[in-house]
Symmetry: none
């Protein structure tokens, strides 16, 4: 991995020679920085300027910058799609105890099963109480040692959420409800982690989250 670095440098920065532009790390860093700053399709003027700055690190032309943005934007998009796709493949890895993500054959259907990661603002500090946070302890059931297998939808904690839905699970906990949607994402193509409270032990309510989503299909 690292070896290439020198190669890159040799190839690009040092020698303008090559037929094709080979960006140096500095160039890439700057480009990515600009990208992160929001630049996606730089104007001609911007390209000129960027090119000028990048030239400090090696031979480069405006078209390279132009192409870089085009490609980078496209590939970021592509990458994201791939990652999402990868999600489904992930389940292949582990063996398992559990049924596939969306057990009923329905698989891909809209991600039904995904989970969303929902952060909650926990007030933090341990001792504080978390008033709003609901924690569900799933404990309720239990016993089977390995975890909570059952995933019923727990309620997402959060300020915003808590779901009432199905009370089934909630039997024990106390929470205040808020409103909201339950939600697991539902939508997207991807997986997520839904969390609210995984805490099993019940007692603690720290932060937390529960995975699993409560979505229908799942």
């Amino acid at each position: 991995m690292n070896d290439n670095m020198s190669v890159d440098m040799l190839a690009s920065g040092g020698t303008p020679v090559g037929n094709r532009w080979n960006p140096t790390n500095e160039q890439i860093e700057l480009l990515e920085s600009l990208y992160r700053q929001g630049i996606r399709t730089p104007s001609a003027e911007q390209i000129q300027q960027i090119t000028g700055r990048l030239r400090a690190f090696g031979h480069i032309e405006g078209k390279n910058v132009f192409y870089w943005f085009q490609n980078h934007k496209a590939r970021q998009r592509q990458k994201q799609k791939q990652d999402k796709f990868a999600y489904f493949n992930r389940f292949l890895h582990r063996t398992s105890v559990f049924p596939p993500p969306c057990p009923n054959g329905g698989f891909k259907r809209r991600a039904a099963c995904d989970a969303a990661a929902v952060y909650i603002n926990a007030p933090t500090t341990h001792s504080q109480e978390i008033s709003n946070m609901v924690y569900v302890s799933s404990n309720a059931n239990k016993q089977f040692n390995q975890e909570t297998l059952n995933l019923f939808p727990l309620h997402p904690t959060g300020i915003l959420q808590e779901k009432t839905t199905t009370s089934s699970s909630s039997s024990t906990s106390a929470h205040h409800d808020q409103s909201s949607v339950t939600s697991c994402p539902s939508n997207s193509v991807e997986a997520a982690n839904c969390f609210t409270d995984l805490g099993i032990g019940g007692a603690d309510h720290r932060p937390v989250f529960n995975f699993l989503c409560g979505k229908g299909p799942c």
Copy 2:
């Protein structure tokens, strides 16, 4: 270091008491093993399963697994980045073979160079000023004058960001150009981008594209 295993177990496995999860060696081993197998961002289901397995060694909850992967991934990345960076600096210092990072008497350029060399992480500044930088005078054809250059803030921010995920990602990505694109974006929202041969002037224009955009000025 290792002697503590028993201690660890007592602390974490044995007693859920502690405020914070303290993984046992076995737990860490398994987690690392999974990580090596490629797991980076386990899904909710995977987390459940992993948690279940780890529970055999001591108290643990899903969130701990979730956090572990988050942290481990981030820190591995960080470590690599550092290594890479160190390598890079070494290289810079040693060689004179190539044009120095800041070739032309670059006055201003220097900053950019320094930035690249120095930052590892940075404060993260946000991208707010994009707007400001958007248009700079530029007379484009000329080379770039320093002042305009300065308008693009180089935010330390991301400087070394490697994009996540395995491989490459952005770092290498980006450059193949293809002929393709010719069109000017014509994008609506933004101004059109026009660009002609930004590459310096005259000499080569291999590809050539004329972008032109629809914008008046162009």
